[in-house]
Amino acid sequence: MKRGLIIVLFLLSLAAPSCSLQKPSDDTVVIWHWMTDRHDVFERLAAEYEQQTGGKVDFQLYAPSDIYSQKVVAAAQAGILPDIYGVLDPKRVFADFIQSGYIADLSDEFKQNNGAWAKTFFPKALAVNRFEENNFYNIPPGIYGVPIDVTNIQMLYNKELLRIAGIQHPPATFDEFLEVINALNRVGISGLVSGWGELWMVNCFALNYAMNIMGEDKVVNTYRGEVPYTDADWIKVFRVFETLAKKKALIVGIVTKINKYAEQDFALERAAFAFNGSWCVNVYHEMNPDLDYGVMLPPRVNLERPMSIWGGAGSSFVVNKSSAHKQQAIAFLKWLTAEKQQSFLSRETRNLPANRFAAGSIPDILSDFAQGMAYATHPTILPLEEDGLVRERFDKGLQAIVIGEKTPEQLARELQELKVRQMARQHRKDGR
C-alpha cells in the first residue's frame, strides 16, 4: 500500500514543473488563430510589437480549422473567448455571434479621422466583414472584423504540362478548355485538380459558373425561393460538372480530395490545371519551387457575362466584445494592418495583403492573382445565403454528378423539393 502511494505521489509530482502559483500578467492580449503556416511569422511580429510599443501579445495556435471552430463555439458558450479570435463559418454564424454579443462593433474605429483606417484596405476585403443597411440578418450595420490578408480563388495552369500537350496559351472559353482537355488526355496528363472533397470548394466552383451563366441577381432570387432549381440556367450549371466528368477533365478521385492533397497534386505536376486560392502560392513554393505556372480566370461558359470569382478577405480577426483589453487589442490590430507589417506578412507568407498600399511589394505570381480582384465577389457579400441543408444537398449532389451517380435533371428536382420544404419550415419558424 505504501509503495503504491509513493508511486502515485511521484507521478503526480511530475506535474509540478507545470505548476505555478503566480497569476498571469494581466495586460497580455491573447489571440487564438488557426493558421499553422503563419505561426512563426505571427510570433515574430508579436516580439517586434513588444519591442516597439511594450504591449504584450500572445498568439495561440489551434489547428486544424474545424477543431478551431469547435473550440471557438465552445468558448463562446462558456464565456471564455480570448481578446482576439476568428469566425471561420458562414455569414449566418458570424451574424449569430454578433447578435449573441460575442463580437465588438468596430465601425467607430474605422470611421475615426475621416475613415483613415478604413481607407487603407481594399474595399472588397472590408466588405466581407461588413453588414449593410437592412441586411437579411437584422444586424445593426457596421464593420465587425479586421481583414489581415486578401485572397481570391482562380484557376491555375501548369505551363510545362500544357507545352507537352502542344498547347501554347491557356484557354479563354469553356469550349477551348474542353479542347485542351482532349489534347491532355491524348498524352495521358490529368486535367483539373481541386479540393472537391471539401464541400465549400465544390460550392465555390458551382457558384462561379452560376454567376457567369445567370448573373448574381438570379442566384440571389433562387435563394429567396423565387426561382426554382429546375430552371434551365441551373441545369446548365449542373451540366458543367457533368461535361467535365464525361470528358474526363477531372483528376481521378477528385471528390474525396481535401484541398491539401489537391494542392500537393498540382505541386507534384500531376495535373495541368488547378482550382485553388491565392494561398496556394506559398504551398507550391514549399513543395516545388521550380513549378512553372500561371493564373487565369475559370473559362467562361456564357460569353455575354463576365466570370465571377470568390475574393475578399482571406483571414479576418474579430475583437471579443467583453474583452478586458479591448483598446489594446484594437491598437494591435491597427499595427498589424499597417503598411510595413502587411508587406512583411505578405512577403513571408506569400499571401496578398489586405492593406492596398502594401501591394507594391508582392511577388510576381501573386500580382497576377491580385488582378483578378476586379471580378471578385464573395458569398458573404450576397444579401442572403442559401439554407444550410439545401446547400449541403447541392454540394453533395454535384459530387454525385461528378462520379456519374446522378443526372443534372435529377439533382434539380431533388433540390427544388427540398428547397420548398425548407422554405415552409422557415415560414413556420418566422411565424412564431
Binding site: D66, S69, Q70, V73, A76, R92, V93, D96, F97, Q99, S100, Y102, G188, S190, G197, E198, L199, I251, V252, G253, I254, V255, T256, K257, I258, D265, L268, E269, R270, G388, L389, R391, E392, K396, G397, Q399, A400, I403, E405, K429, R432
Partner: protein, 308 residues
C-alpha cells in the same frame, strides 16, 4: 438494555453500508458530472431547435425525431455503420481467432507475432487513414501508378482490377471496412489468445487419447470453452465499429457524397455544417437507443448460450 443493543447493531449496519457505498462514490461522482449532465443536456437539446450560438432555443417537441424518421441519409448511414460492423464481426474476428489458434500452438516467434499484430491498434486513426490513403491512391503520374495497391496489381499483370478505390461508390465503404478491421484485429487477437491459454491442456490430451480428430477437438472443446471471451469480443466489436468516424474522415474527408457516411459523421455534419444542433442531438439520442437495444439483444443471446 435491549434497545441499546439494537441501536449499536443498526449503527453497525449503517456504518457497514456507508463504507460499502464509499467504494462506489468516486466512480459515481465522476460519472454523474461528466456523463449524466451532458447526457441530460443532449436529451434536452434534442427537443429544441438551436443553431449552436444564439441564446434562443426554440422548443419543438418531437419534431426533430419525426424528421429523423424520414431522413433517408440518416438511415443509410446507419446501414453503412452496420455494414462495417458486420464486416468486422466476420472478417476481423475470424482472422483474429485463427491467428490466435495458430499462435497458441506455435512456440517459435510467438512473441514476435504478439508484438507485430498489436501495431495497428497502437497507431492513431489519423495516421492509419493517411497511410492507407496513400496505399489506395488511384492517381497515375508519368505512366506510373502512384498508389501502392494499384502499382502492385499493375506489376503482376492484373491491370483490369486497377480501380479508383476510394472514389468508387461500390468499393469505398468496403475499403474503409477493411482498414477498420485491419486496425482492430490486434485487440481480438490478444483477447482470444489469452482465452485459449486458459484452456487446460489436459482436456486436449484426454480427447486425443479418446481418438478425437483435430476438428472434433476444435468444435467440441475449444469453441465451447471460448464462448465467454467470444461474447465479450463480439460486444466490444459491435460498439466500437458502430461508432467509427475519425477513420472515415481521414480516408475520404467529408465523404464520398453520401456513400461513406456513418451516424457519427452525420451528427457532426448537422452540428457544424448545417448548424442544426437540436437535430444533431436527436440523432445522438436515437443512435444511443439503437445501440442499447443491440446490446440487450446480445445479452439475451449470451444468456441463452450460457444455458446451453
Amino acid at each position: 438494555m435491549a434497545a441499546f443493543m439494537t441501536n449499536k447493531k443498526t449503527r453497525q449496519v449503517y456504518h457497514n453500508v456507508l463504507t460499502n457505498f464509499l467504494f462506489v462514490l468516486p466512480a459515481v461522482v465522476i460519472f454523474a458530472i461528466f456523463y449524466i449532465y451532458p447526457f441530460y443536456e443532449t436529451f434536452n437539446l434534442s427537443l429544441h431547435e438551436w443553431n449552436g450560438i444564439s441564446v434562443d432555443k426554440y422548443f419543438v417537441g418531437l419534431d426533430n425525431f419525426k424528421d429523423l424518421l424520414r431522413d433517408k441519409v440518416w438511415w443509410s448511414s446507419l446501414w453503412h455503420a452496420a455494414y462495417i460492423t458486420l464486416f468486422a464481426l466476420t472478417f476481423q474476428n475470424i482472422l483474429a481467432f485463427s491467428l490466435a489458434v495458430a499462435c497458441d500452438r506455435e512456440i517459435r516467434m510467438k512473441n514476435f507475432y504478439r508484438v507485430i499484430f498489436f501495431i495497428p491498434p497502437v497507431l492513431s486513426e489519423v495516421v492509419v487513414g493517411l497511410i492507407w490513403r496513400w496505399i489506395l491512391e488511384a492517381n497515375v503520374q508519368g505512366g506510373q501508378q502512384v498508389g501502392l495497391l494499384n502499382h502492385f496489381l499493375y506489376t503482376i499483370g492484373l491491370n483490369h482490377l486497377v480501380n479508383d478505390w476510394l472514389s468508387d461508390p461500390k468499393t469505398a465503404l468496403t475499403c474503409i471496412a477493411i482498414v477498420h478491421s485491419w486496425k482492430g484485429f490486434g485487440w481480438g487477437f490478444v483477447m482470444f489468445l489469452a482465452g485459449l491459454q486458459t484452456i487446460d491442456r489436459q482436456l486436449y490430451e484426454a480427447a486425443r487419447v479418446d481418438g478425437a480428430s483435430p476438428w472434433g477437438i476444435f468444435f467440441n472443446i475449444t469453441i465451447p470453452m471460448m464462448v465467454p471471451v467470444i461474447l465479450v469480443v463480439v460486444i466490444l466489436t459491435i460498439l466500437g465499429s458502430m461508432q467509427v468516424f475519425i477513420l472515415v474522415m481521414s480516408m475520404v474527408g467529408q465523404g464520398l457524397v453520401y456513400y461513406t457516411d456513418v451516424p457519427v459523421t452525420r451528427i457532426l455534419s448537422a452540428m457544424h455544417l448545417t448548424r442544426q444542433y437540436g437535430y444533431a442531438c436527436s440523432m445522438g439520442v436515437m443512435f444511443g437507443l439503437i445501440l442499447i437495444s443491440l446490446s440487450f439483444a446480445m445479452k439475451q443471446i449470451s444468456a441463452r448460450m450460457k444455458q446451453v
